[in-house]
Amino acid sequence: MTVHVVGVGMTRFTKTPELTHEALARTAIAAAVADAGIDASDLDAFFCGSVFGGLAIGQRVARASGIGEIPIVNLENACASSGGALREAYAWVASGGSDLALVLGVEMLTNMGGGLVSSDAHGASQRIGLTLPGLYAMRASRYMAEHGASAEDLASVAVKNRRNGSHNDKAHFRDAVAGAEVLESAPIATPLTLLQCCPNVDGAAAVIVASDAALRRLGSQRAVKIAGWGMVSGNALDVVGSEPTATARAGQAAYDRAGVGPDEIDVCEVHEPFTIAEIEHIESLGFCGHGEGASATVAGRTEIDGDLVAVNPSGGLIARGHPLGASGAAQVVEIVTQLRGEAGDRQRDGARVGMAHIMGGNIPEIDSNACVVHIFTR
């Protein structure tokens, strides 16, 4: 059984405190349903990812979106919530439990007061006041010391992703920035500055997956296959510097299932809440060697037309914004759009194989969290 993506849709990710989860979800679901050429009443299962959406978030948004009394599963896995929801939908469809399933990620962050997202940490990190940017900043300090990378090198991730985001009408930030502007923005946790951190925004993204039979019924010519997946959790005893990383383990599982290697990936959405994360993840996913992520980025090898792979053509979390539980589904929207050849000014030429990588973690050990990777083929 092959599982296919037959429809995608999303709201713009931006600061809309006047809206509700229900309103955001309705917009994203309506767009995905229209894209698939179906009615919401055709859906037979619904998997809803959200971090702070509250009890029965899926049932609440379903009622507002014309979805019937079908199985609804709510999934919270920190930032990997809707990436994990896609994995659940895949399993239901692959096992014959569903023909046409909806995956949604939805989050409202601007009505939570803004600023730092709580790491919900306990123990030493809570007692010393360690923030999530602080955790990634420490990782950056280590990377710079080990590999000779500079603050300018880190900033090149933000420059690339903001330029990509300027071509994405669903992104929060629609303007490009220069490296100097990134480095001169407010210090958050040395060496990370404000423009190297993802903005807190609101949004929803929806993905519709189908069985072979449902695809035949629809007769869609724009479907994209889910070719492989990987999902792992960190070890509670993992600390900074553990190898192989959760990303490497989830990525390898996805490569094995899809029967492809890193050199065959044309386009990839990578979880980069902070610049250093993209640099480390593209190494863990095998696009370049250990310690080469920063220099590859600086050399333009991960640009939309880069020779390695296009990384975060949507603008990623840094430009599109990061409504936690909704980001995984938004990545899938981007990859499907790229593989269909419908990405306009940010299209990777000839993209045939794509990947979405998302991590969730709200505990101090940066690698001790959910990591979900999907590989898609046209």
């Binding site: 040395t190 600390v239 900074v240």
Partner: protein, 73 residues
């Protein structure tokens, strides 16, 4: 005499949670026991700290946190 540790990674936090005066420096420190532990700067701020630096480690029992400071020459 305080045990000596080696800084594995460090940062100075400029935007912190309420209740924490910023900026302040924190680090993962490799301890003689082989453990890697989170610690905060005894003198709150040490912006020139880098991975590989040697630091003295002590335990602040009141806050139940490890604190590091540069060893005097």
């Amino acid at each position: 005499m305080s045990p000596t540790g080696t800084v594995y990674a460090c940062t100075t936090i400029h935007r912190g949670f309420s209740g924490f005066e910023t900026p302040f420096t924190v680090a993962w420190v490799d301890l003689p026991s082989g453990e890697r532990a989170l610690a905060t700067a005894k003198h709150r701020l040490d912006e020139s700290l880098r991975p590989g630096d040697s630091v003295a480690i002590e335990h602040d029992a009141d806050r139940d946190v490890l604190m590091f400071s540069r060893e005097s020459a």
